[in-house]
């Protein structure tokens, strides 16, 4: 591969720039010439330019080398490759590579042989690797250790992490393997443990079958026990019913016995209740009659009878008399009451009027006197009103003539008339108008002057007043009369009002008091009449009560005692009389009744020791018992029918308690087995879970094992790749390096070697020293040899050009000369583009 020429349309500071390449090309220019631009252009031709990213802070060639002076951004490069001449023409957009254009010509014909990125097709490396490999600067070459060589070698050829280190990779794989091995170990333990658990659970599961069978048997037994209990319980229930029925039957029998027992006392038949009631009445009558016969009046009654007889021996009042006396007492009481009420009548304002008039009524004369006095007083007061209390006189203070007002007013009116006439005439006859007006004005002025004088004179008058004697006399007369009247009123205790009011009051009160006195007089007359009647009645009543030996204060009480006594006396008298009359009749009745009773006992052949009350009770008892018996019997039948009690059942062999006990035992036993089964089921419900877990763990173990196998394979493959890389690149590199080192030895006089581990040594004073002891200049040259060796091995057929960007800045003049010699030597079989900014380093 060889560059032939380049043409820059516009790229950075270059425009329309051409350059033809030789085998060795030296660009010795000052800083700022554009060496970097040319390098960038060559690279851009083979690899293109990256798009401009808005947010990118890194160096962007597209942006940096956009033509300073404008023009078509791009150009072409012509080169030989596999014995053909190619030309790559590119045009770059300002920002995006998608808008770039590229045409590749092969022997002047467009071709796609070099594909999208010609650099990759030609060199087999990407842009970054191209930069690392083809560009040699003074600061990029560094060789230190074995690993670094390896690392650098990789870095040069592919975009591998800068920290790649086969030892680190080995370590990571080893660590990962250990992780998996640990995991396998743990998983294995888990698997063993789970297996054990599964084994246990399966054993439990197997036990379950027998438990189920046992449960089934116990369930059967339990059901049987429940059945038996139910059956026995039903039987017990029926027996209980029969017992209840028997109790009702027993009650019936008892009642029947009681009935029969009573009936035994009545051999023929049981008498009817009516008949017994009749006999009972007869016996009662006998009893009453017997009592009546045996009965007599008592001593107290006799004594009382005697006392009353004695008391009323003088006079025994009849009922009519008593009634009449009673009426009289009532009349007496009412008269007394009437009298008291009349005596106690109080009239309105009676007491007040009594104070004014003290039982002395004002007569008409006195009233007339009052009225006359009042009339006279009014007359005097009216007369006084007409008499002026003062008499006045007027006196003037000067002698000015007083002109009469009427004359003045007439003069002023005349003046006004003349003035008006004058004004009126002034429009008809001028002179007459003026004359009249003048006359009117004069008259008016004179009138006004005199009017003012009059006013002035009026202000000079003096009035003098004196008391009127007639008036005073009249006034005294009124006072006297008034005092007289007041005194008169005061006599009757009227003094708190005006004379007119007092006159009115005294008249009214006198009239009212007169009426009251009249009424009282009438009442007194009535009272007198009543007293007469009362005295008469009192006399009569006193006479009566004296006749019956009564001296009671209250007539009412006295008459009541009399009444009571008379009733008592009448009763006692009747009693004493009738006692004697009835005795015979009662004895006859008694015999008849006894006959009827005897007949009853004999008719029914009842033992006479059985009293009629017992018989009566017997009948009632039989009625009650028979009723009860019927009810019980009905109840018996109803209960029997209701409970379907037809045949008696036998009692179960075991009693209910025992059966219940058995049933509970079976139930408990069933529940226990059930709980046991449920617990086992609960436990073995984990079986499936455990199996899944086991499978999972096994899978995990398997995966770990597979991963270990994969990791082994990975390690093997990476080691192999590493070895291959070494075999492919580093061993030849070592070989080539040795060749270049020989050249170095020739030029520098230093023997440089690379050992099996790619470590660089140099011989100094008979001893091999590590590259650390090399001077910077020698190290740079070693590095250059290493790079050349690398290139030789990577590109055997089509060796690419080499760009040396001032790589020898750190060499002294002696080493620089040697380096120049080396480069010159090398340029025989390599195309070199050598850039330097200093003439001393120019080759």
């Amino acid at each position: 591969m060889k560059l032939l020429s380049l043409h820059i349309n516009a790229y950075g500071k270059f425009s329309n720039y051409d350059y033809s390449f030789d085998n060795f090309n030296t660009f010795c220019e000052d800083n700022g010439y554009g060496k970097t631009t040319i390098c960038s252009f060559i690279k851009a031709m083979f690899y293109g330019l990256e798009s401009v990213h808005a947010n990118s802070t890194s160096f962007c060639e597209r942006k940096h080398f956009f033509p300073f002076k404008g023009g078509n951004f791009g150009g072409s490069i012509t080169f030989e490759y596999k014995n053909k001449t190619y030309r790559i023409e590119r045009s770059f957009n300002e920002k995006s590579y998608t808008k770039d254009t590229m045409i590749v010509y092969c022997n002047n014909s467009p071709t796609n042989e070099l594909q999208e990125v010609p650099g990759i097709t030609i060199f087999g490396i990407n842009k970054e690797s191209f930069e690392r490999l083809i560009f040699i600067t003074s600061d990029k070459i560094e060789i230190n250790t074995n690993n670094d060589i390896n690392k650098k070698l990789n870095n040069y050829v592919e975009n591998v992490n800068e920290n790649f280190n086969i030892d680190v990779v080995d370590k990571k794989i080893k660590e990962k393997k250990k992780t998996y091995k640990d995991q396998i170990k743990i998983t294995k333990e888990n698997i063993d443990s789970i297996n054990e658990e599964i084994l246990n659970l399966e054993m439990l599961n197997q036990e379950l079958d027998s438990k189920y069978k046992k449960l089934s048997i116990v369930e059967e037994e339990k059901n049987q026990a429940i059945e038996e209990y139910k059956k026995a319980s039903t039987l017990a229930f029926v027996i209980e019913k029969w017992n209840s029925l028997d109790k009702i039957g027993e009650k019936c029998a008892l009642l029947n016995n009681q009935i029969n027992e009573i009936k035994q006392n009545y051999p023929l038949e049981l008498p009817s209740l009516d008949r017994v009631m009749g006999i009972k009445d007869d016996l009662d009558q006998i009893k009453i009659t017997t009592i009546s016969l045996e009965k007599d009046i008592s001593l107290e009654q006799k004594n009382e009878y005697e006392r009353l007889k004695e008391k009323y021996s003088k006079h025994l009042p009849t009922n009519e008399e008593i009634d009449r006396i009673d009426e009289k007492i009532s009349s007496y009481d009412s008269l007394i009451m009437e009298k008291e009420s009349l005596a106690n009548i109080k009239y309105e304002k009676e007491e007040e009027l009594e104070k004014h008039f003290a039982s002395e009524v004002l007569n008409q004369e006195e009233i007339t006197l009052f009225e006359n006095q009042m009339e006279r007083l009014n007359t005097l007061e009216n007369q006084l009103k007409e008499i002026p209390p003062k008499v006045s006189e007027v006196k003037r203070t000067n002698d000015n003539k007083h002109i009469k007002s009427r004359a003045l007013i007439s003069l002023i009116i005349l003046g006004l008339c003349l003035l008006a006439t004058g004004i009126g005439l002034f429009f008809v006859i001028n002179y007459l108008g003026i004359i009249f007006s003048s006359l009117g004005g004069v008259a008016l002025v004179i009138g006004l002057v005199f009017f003012l004088i009059n006013i002035s004179n009026k202000n000079n008058e003096v009035h003098i007043e004196k008391d009127n004697k007639g008036y005073i006399d009249k006034l005294n007369e009124i006072k006297d009369l008034r005092n007289e009247i007041i005194n008169h009123f005061a006599y009757y205790r009227y003094n708190d009002a005006s004379l007119e009011v007092m006159l009115y009051q005294i008249k009214e009160d006198s009239k009212k008091y007169s009426e009251i006195l009249n009424k009282k007089e009438v009442n007194q007359e009535k009272i007198n009449d009543l007293n007469k009647n009362i005295d008469s009645l009192k006399e009569e009543l006193d006479l009566f009560f004296t006749s019956v030996s009564m001296k009671e204060v209250s007539y009412k009480k006295a008459i009541d005692i009399v009444k009571k006594d008379l009733v008592e006396l009448s009763t006692l008298t009747k009693l004493i009389c009738s006692n004697q009359d009835n005795k015979e009749e009662l004895q006859k009745k008694m015999l008849l009744l006894k006959e009827r009773v005897d007949s009853f006992y004999s008719t029914y052949q009842i033992d006479k020791s059985r009293t009629i009350d017992i018989i009566y009770q017997d009948i009632l008892d039989i009625y009650r018992l028979e009723k009860e018996y019927q009810e019980e019997k009905a109840s018996y039948e109803e209960y029997k029918e209701k409970n379907h009690l037809e045949e008696r059942v036998e009692s179960p062999s075991l009693n209910l308690e025992e059966l219940e006990k058995i049933m509970n035992e079976k139930n408990n036993s069933y529940s226990m087995i059930k709980v046991d089964i449920e617990n086992i089921e609960e436990e073995i419900s984990l079986l499936e879970e455990k199996k899944v877990e086991l499978a999972y763990k096994k899978q995990l173990k398997k995966e770990c094992e597979q991963k270990i196998v994969l990791l082994d394979s990975l390690k093997k493959e990476i080691d192999t790749a590493d070895q291959r890389l070494k075999n492919r690149y580093i061993s030849p590199v070592k070989e080539k390096f040795c060749n270049y080192a020989n050249l170095l030895e020739k030029t520098l006089g230093v023997n440089v070697e690379m050992d099996q581990n790619f470590k660089i040594y140099f011989e100094e004073e008979g001893a091999l020293r590590s590259s650390n002891h090399l001077s910077n200049g020698n190290l740079a040259l070693c590095s250059l040899c290493f790079r050349l060796a690398l290139l030789d091995n990577m590109f055997e057929d089509e060796l690419p050009f080499l760009i040396l960007d001032d790589p020898f800045t750190s060499l002294d003049s002696k080493h620089l000369e040697k380096a120049k010699e080396l480069i010159t030597l090398l340029s025989k079989n390599k195309q070199i583009l050598y850039f330097t900014c200093h003439e001393t380093r120019k080759i």
Binding site: N161, K172, I173, Y212, E688, V692, S713, E717, A721
Partner: protein
């Protein structure tokens, strides 16, 4: 008359292998509850017969609690007849309670028939001994509406857990009430009859996606049937092709976009498929956490590496050497090669090995 046909309830099913333990426990309870809800539904709709076409329980020996739960529901609904055919999971039927008048079972020896007016419901439990011969014993009255219950998979041959459809032709079957296949399915037997798998009642794992429920038969002079979706939750499998996506965030966004129409109460299985470049790391857990609003989400990464080894043929670096070395080694499977390369690229670039 209305009849409810359900199957494969799998009461007491352990769902641990499909979900995390806490989710499994919830689902186990939901499964039990859905059965109860189904019976309530039947009650409210006036359905008098419920056909249980096998695998009511998940295992031969269900726990006492599960059995009690089942029998309590049956006993508390005496107006509904439960026709219970054992399946392959509960084939022993070892603990059928006695004296439950509304629980009707089927024998494995003979074909049992229950008659409801002109509707006859027959069935037999398939066993190794009868699996080939029971076909010939089917004798159904042509004038009746005949429902036949079986538990097995439709097959061209007969045998245990197999139903040879050919042998059921012209047997006067109107409705073959099947169980065993958890995915809803139906088809014709012959001119007269159809077969129906209602599918299971509640999905139990990611292999049971889609609507789950039961079938309601409306029988007049003929049978019409309707599928009633009834499960508490539905499992959805969503395939997300992430080919060419350059970041794990974009993968998450695409997955979210794909599942946005699915209700949160449901269960999701997201399968990431397609080719991803080696530098794109798929974080399944991150996607699962981001979609935690759903009842449960499982992300399965089935993507493949888009690495083209031929691109490294001329690569002169260690990576080139490494990739060539791995791909040239014939002792590795493709999967192993991908894994080794992925690990190698990480470790060479200084990252930790996953």
């Amino acid at each position: 008359m209305k009849i409810l046909h359900c199957a494969d309830i799998h009461l007491g099913s352990k769902i641990e292998s499909k979900f995390p333990k806490e989710i499994s426990n919830i689902r186990k309870r939901e499964l039990m509850n859905t059965f109860s809800r189904m019976v309530d539904y039947a009650k409210s709709e006036g359905i008098k017969i419920i056909l249980l076409s096998g695998d009511v329980f998940d295992k031969d020996k269900p726990s006492l609690k599960e059995k009690e739960y089942f029998y309590k529901i049956i006993k508390s609904n005496p107006e509904i007849d439960f026709l219970y055919l054992n399946g392959n999971h509960d084939k022993e039927g070892s603990f059928i309670e006695k004296d439950i008048s509304n629980l009707k079972v089927f024998s494995k020896e003979t074909i049992t028939t229950y008659q409801y007016d002109n509707i006859s419901i027959s069935g037999i439990e398939i066993t190794p001994s009868n699996s080939n011969v029971f076909y010939s014993r089917i004798n159904l009255n042509e004038d009746n509406i005949n429902i036949f219950m079986l538990h097995g998979e439709i097959s061209s041959s007969s045998g245990m857990d197999k139903i040879k459809l050919e042998s059921l032709k012209n047997k006067n079957i109107d409705y073959l009430a099947l169980g065993h296949i958890h995915k809803r399915d139906e088809g014709k037997i012959d001119e007269r009859g159809i077969y129906v798998y209602p599918g299971n009642l509640e999905p139990r794992g990611f292999d049971e996606c889609g609507e789950k429920g039961f079938v309601v038969l409306d029988i007049t002079d003929k049978i019409s049937h309707t599928f009633i979706p009834f499960s508490k939750r539905t499992i959805h499998e969503v395939v997300v092709d992430v080919t060419g996506i350059e970041s794990s965030f974009d993968i998450l966004m695409k997955a979210k976009e794909k599942v946005k129409a699915i209700p949160y109460q449901d269960i999701l299985r997201i399968r990431l498929v397609g080719e991803l470049s080696l530098n794109v790391e798929v974080d399944e857990r991150e996607i699962e956490v981001s979609l935690s609003s759903y009842f449960f989400v499982n992300v399965k990464n089935e993507t493949t590496s888009s690495l083209d080894p031929s691109k490294y043929d001329n690569d002169k670096s260690l990576i080139g050497e490494f990739i060539r070395g791995v791909y040239e080694n014939k002792t590795y499977s493709d999967e192993e090669k991908q894994k080794i390369v992925a690990m190698g690229l990480r470790v060479i670039s200084g990252k930790e090995i996953e």
